[in-house]
């Protein structure tokens, strides 16, 4: 877009930005929202460096420095929580990220509009189930004595007969990740379907004339078309690597699977909120955020270097 007004005087800086004033007005509500609701509350970060004292307010406690960070690093729960968080996040991304792309490619290749719509609607549906209901469903379906799905899997000998899907530590991550894919796959594929719809029809025609089969069309036409979307979304996902969904983990947690299900967010909740250790909780939460931020930057610079696609 070219600057609309070239008559404006003043410094080059001002002219450059004032020229796009319509765009700036459009982005203004978002900036205000982010300033108030995202940057505003960040003054609370100092809680992680202070002794929380209720009578003196959030920012009134004595300065504690890195005491609470050290307390976390030295706590016996530091490695277990970090490891559990990483394992869950790693498998969620490894298995959960490609699935929507595959689904989008499948949906895109369906010719009949009616069938396409039926398929899409069916796979979206689970997304609207609340986490609480989903976990309750899981617990009923996977119960080792009365669970329908559990009985089905055991009848087909897909899992050993003495497995307790809601309890065994080994079953926690698969159940967590697969149920997550089942729930979010359809929804997450929307953005890829949208990207695919923008592929120029001429490219398909050209591929067909060149004698490309279905696989070659996917590989040489469709994947390159949605690659920028894939990379951007992957970078954003990396920024959430340690933000393993609190609700679902917490709800699925029990004494049996706790060795693998106690993640940073549930630990913050158990210690910080339930035991009123606000400063400690803030410190652990801040640590979590710093790791996330590091991953975001790393993924971004890696993508920039290898494919020249990045957020900044």
């Amino acid at each position: 877009m070219k600057p609309a007004q070239t008559t404006l005087r003043g410094s080059g800086w001002l002219r450059k930005y004032a020229g796009h004033y319509q765009l700036w007005i459009m982005v203004l509500p978002a900036v205000i929202y982010i300033a108030i609701f995202c940057y505003g509350p960040m003054y609370g970060i100092q809680l992680a460096f202070r002794e929380f004292d209720f009578s003196k307010g959030l920012t009134g406690g004595d300065w504690a420095g890195f005491k609470y960070f050290e307390q976390y690093f030295n706590s016996p729960m530091f490695w277990p929580t970090l490891r559990n968080t990483f394992i869950i996040a790693f498998f969620s991304i490894l298995l959960g990220f490609p699935m929507p792309i595959l689904l989008a490619l499948v949906v895109n290749s369906i010719r009949s509009n009616r069938r396409k719509r039926i398929l899409q609607t069916t796979v979206y549906m689970p997304y609207f189930i609340s986490t609480v209901v989903l976990v309750a469903l899981l617990q009923i379906m996977l119960s080792p004595t009365t669970g329908l799905l559990d009985g089905f899997l055991k009848a087909l000998h897909l899992i050993p007969a003495d497995t307790n899907l809601v309890g065994d530590p080994g079953a926690f991550v698969p159940v967590y990740v697969l149920s997550g894919i089942w729930q979010a796959c359809g929804w997450n594929s929307i953005i890829f379907i949208a990207a695919l719809s923008s592929v120029d029809g001429q490219q398909y025609d050209a591929a067909r004339i060149d004698g490309a089969n279905r696989w070659q069309t996917v590989w040489h036409v469709e994947i390159p078309a949605i690659l920028p979307t894939i990379i951007i979304l992957l970078i954003m996902n990396m920024g959430n690597i340690l933000s393993v969904g609190f609700e679902k983990t917490f709800l699925m947690q029990n004494s049996l699977n706790k060795p693998v299900s106690e993640v940073i967010s549930t630990y913050v909740f158990n210690v910080g909120v339930k035991s009123n250790q606000f400063s400690f909780g803030s410190a652990v939460g801040l640590f979590n955020t710093v790791i996330n931020f590091t991953f975001l930057i790393l993924a971004n610079s890696l993508a920039k270097r290898t494919s020249k696609i990045s957020l900044m």
Partner: protein, 542 residues
């Protein structure tokens, strides 16, 4: 590209910001609405944490009458689930209602210093009933008084509840069907459970639908931790987080050799398929519903619970009997104990607290005091004495009878919890009232059933083997250390018993490493702090 990168930075910042919960302390904006209603009544706001069964308190006629009498108009906010998760946020905001029923704990007074009113002076000026309670039972005043000499919550006292929370039940009909004797030792119990598993004791032709044994997670009330009493370990008052006292020493059963012995026994039972497969993962409602069987067919052979009617339902309750404490082996010489829960069942702290920023503290105190009038306290516990609430019948001669449920589909226990504040309310059932109340069938039954444990319970010496955890007081620093350590300790103990129970892990071999990891997670420090507080308590005990 430039603009894109600014946006990206903002978004990155956003991610960072989102993960920090925005708990801002509210500024001291005072409520704008007037504090007096048109009829000249004082308006109060109250929060009540009630049982999930309890109906809307606005429908309780006795309560409406009580508000009338105290000349107050109360706006109730009612919480029936997850209070311990909600309360930190509410308290940290600093905006709390005038009255808090069943919503506060000693640690809150320490951590939210200044949020709650010291009730001491208010009680002296406006609360004759509470004063009377304190003079008749001075230990209630001790219970309510914090380290700094202040009272932030009024206590509750029942005195008519049994001294044991859990009973051990076994299905006598099943034993008779299989021609078996009531077990008296762990070894005999194992034989019986094997017979339950292999036979068809409920006689429905299906040999696989019997669950020989079922219980709650170890830390809860209805669990095999009670069997520690077979090994001479005196539990008391719920043994919350595993703490108990023995010979005036505070100890924790999770690191006690006798707990190892128990876990080995339970592991052996589990490996033989004698314990429900869902014992660790099921929640309380499933635990309850399984034991209620289907129709007249019982499903569970041996389990723990409060009372047979409550545990097995009206139809099956007669099949079960209370099982006295077992010996480990026929030739064991260990002293037998049963958990002494007298304080846990009859004394409660912090039934009501008042906000320090309340504008009508006198009226609030007057209202609280009204609950402690003997006849009102009865209604708090059992339901109103009127034709709407149908909780209690006034015989007119100074005696009262607890009425059976007006809703025939409910058992008396559920009716009580539905119909009134029940055990969660503020109350003082004066000892003088004890002989004048005819209890409901459930309570009569409870007392009858639990009689088998009386001798063992009374054996626990008040001064050495009974640990009343709610009487203990800690400083701010100690409270924080205890909470922090406990979270780490529970992380280990919670998962360890469950994994030992359900796997073939070699407990003997893992034990030493487990004990040292629990100790280094803060248990040693917690025991020291608790020991100090317990000794202070003993010094004041008369």
């Amino acid at each position: 590209m430039r603009k894109k990168s600014i946006l990206a930075l903002i978004m990155a910042g956003c991610l960072a910001g989102l993960s920090l919960a925005g708990c801002s302390k509210g500024n001291n904006s005072t409520e704008a609405d007037s504090t007096n209603s048109p009829e000249g009544k004082t308006k109060l706001k109250a929060i009540i944490v009630k049982h999930s069964l309890t109906k809307d308190v606005g429908e309780m006629k006795w309560l409406t009458e009580l508000e009338e009498k105290a000349n107050v108009e109360v706006e109730w906010q009612q919480i029936s689930a997850d209070w311990d998760q909600k309360k930190s946020a509410l308290f940290a905001s600093g905006e709390i209602p005038d009255l808090l029923f069943n919503a506060t704990a000693n640690s809150d007074f320490v951590q939210f210093n200044g949020l709650f009113e010291d009730l001491g002076p208010l009680i002296e000026q406006n609360a004759p009933n509470i004063q009377k309670m304190f003079s008749e039972h001075p230990e209630l005043k001790t219970l309510a008084t914090q380290n700094d000499g202040k009272i932030y919550g009024t206590p509750r006292y029942k005195g008519i509840w049994p001294a044991s929370t859990a009973s051990m039940f076994i299905n006598k009909t099943w034993l008779d069907n299989l021609g078996l004797q009531v077990p008296t030792t762990w070894d005999e119990l194992e034989t019986v459970l094997v017979a339950f598993r292999d036979g068809d004791p409920n006689g429905n032709g299906d040999k696989t639908d019997e669950i020989p044994m079922d219980f709650n997670p170890i830390g809860w009330d209805f669990t095999p931790k009670l069997l520690l009493g077979s090994l001479g370990l005196p539990l008391s008052n719920g043994a919350t987080d595993g703490y108990f006292t023995e010979g005036a020493q505070v100890k924790n059963f999770y690191v006690d050799e006798r707990f190892k012995t128990l876990m080995q026994f339970l592991q052996k039972l589990y490996s033989q398929n004698l314990i429900s497969k869902e014992v660790v993962t099921q929640d309380y409602s499933k635990y309850q519903s399984v034991a209620r069987g289907s129709g007249a067919t019982a499903k569970v052979g041996f389990t723990w619970g409060w009372e047979t009617g409550d545990r097995f339902g009206n139809e099956l309750k007669d099949q079960y009997i209370t099982l006295p404490q077992l010996k480990q082996h026929a030739d064991s010489t260990d002293e037998l104990y049963w958990s002494n829960d007298y304080y846990y069942q009859n004394y409660g702290s912090n039934a009501v607290s008042i906000s320090a920023s309340s504008k009508n503290k006198e009226a609030a105190m007057r209202f609280i005091d009204a609950f402690y009038e003997p006849e009102v306290s009865l209604q708090v516990l059992f339901g109103g004495m009127n034709d709407t609430d149908k909780g209690i019948k006034d015989n007119g001669d100074g005696t009262y009878a607890i009425l059976p449920p007006a809703d025939a589909s409910l058992d008396p226990g559920s009716w009580k919890w539905t119909n009134s504040f029940a055990d969660n309310g503020p109350m003082y059932i004066a000892d003088a009232l004890k002989d004048k109340v005819t209890l409901g069938t459930d309570m009569q039954n409870v007392l009858k059933e639990k009689a088998v444990y009386e001798e063992l319970i009374s054996k626990a010496d008040e001064k050495t083997n009974v640990y009343p955890q709610n009487f203990m007081k800690y400083s701010t620093e100690d409270t924080n250390i205890l909470a922090m350590n406990q979270a780490n300790i529970n992380n280990i103990t919670d998962q360890k018993w469950a994994s030992w129970l359900t796997t073939k892990a070699d407990i003997e071999k893992e034990w030493a490493a487990y004990v040292s990891s629990v100790n280094s997670s803060g248990l040693e420090q917690n025991l020291q702090i608790r020991q100090k507080a317990y000794e202070e308590y003993l010094a004041n005990l008369k």
